[in-house]
């Protein structure tokens, strides 16, 4: 299956985007058990990893819960908002 030449060239010439991150911020409302449940259910984290990230949110005020393309991180952020978690995305090095 041949790709149009232009597209191939474009792929080779494009510098990959710097990765983006999904952040979840601490809030005084959401229960710790709920946040861990969201991390297990949505991201599929094992209980230990979900608890670790939940505690990081709680203790440090925020945690990076995912890294990847901007579009992918936007999908995660809107999903987190669907769960009522306070979430933003940012460039990985910011």
């Amino acid at each position: 299956m041949a790709q149009p030449l232009e597209l191939v060239e474009e792929d080779l010439l494009t510098v990959p985007d710097r990765p983006w991150v999904t952040l979840v911020w601490n809030d005084p409302v959401n229960l710790m058990s709920y946040v861990a449940w969201v991390f297990r259910g949505y991201f599929g984290f094992a209980a230990s990893e979900a608890d670790r990230l939940m505690l990081q949110v709680h203790n440090d005020g925020r945690a990076v819960v995912a890294t990847g393309s901007r579009e992918e991180m936007e999908r995660h952020v809107v999903a987190m908002h669907g769960y009522g978690l306070w979430s933003t995305l940012a460039k990985a090095d910011e």
Binding site: D27, P28, V29, V78, H81, G82, G84, S87, T88
Partner: protein, 168 residues
């Protein structure tokens, strides 16, 4: 299975209606940050320091996200209502006056559990915003809001009980 006092069932339906109205009336056609802090907490900015990107994000996501939240609230209201009508009078399906005074057992399937946990979160976020809950969880409103505070705490207990049941 949740067991609700009639007054609790009524309260849940009432709160669900209020927050549904907040979500549906507050939609901003320009996709800016909502002026109401409670609505802003339900639909937060996706970029901490980039208003334009946040606006663009809202343009593509706010309608679906709002619809999802409204559907969760409707599911809670209907779970409470349907069971109240069918459960209490021997199965004839006819709600009776007496049914309004009895406890209601609400059975939640997996989809309902998901909707309830999300909806209870949204209800608590709105109440917390109205109560002025600060970053440490302290409430800035005085005694006049103590009734609201009790409701806020009760919703938290209800949510915790569902989560505990899931892990059992």
């Amino acid at each position: 299975v949740l067991s609700l006092e009639p007054v609790e069932a009524g309260l849940l339906v009432h709160l669900a209606e209020q927050v549904t109205a907040l979500l549906t009336d507050g939609a901003d056609p320009d996709h800016g940050d909502p002026a109401d802090p409670a609505l802003l907490r339900l639909l937060p900015a996706a970029y901490a320091d980039d208003e334009e990107s946040s606006r663009e994000f809202r343009r593509f996501t706010a309608t679906d996200l709002t619809a999802q939240k409204v559907a969760n609230l409707a599911r809670v209201a209907s779970d409470v209502g349907v069971d109240a009508a069918v459960g209490d009078d021997g199965g004839s399906g006819v709600p009776t006056r007496a049914a309004g005074r009895r406890r209601r057992d609400v059975e939640l399937d997996a989809e309902s559990v998901e909707a309830w946990l999300r909806a209870l979160t949204d209800l608590r976020l709105v109440l917390a915003s109205r109560l002025g809950v600060d970053a440490d969880g302290e409430v800035s409103m005085g005694d006049e809001a103590s009734g609201v505070h009790d409701v806020y705490d009760w919703l938290g207990l209800l949510q915790e009980s569902i989560l505990t049941a899931l892990e059992a």
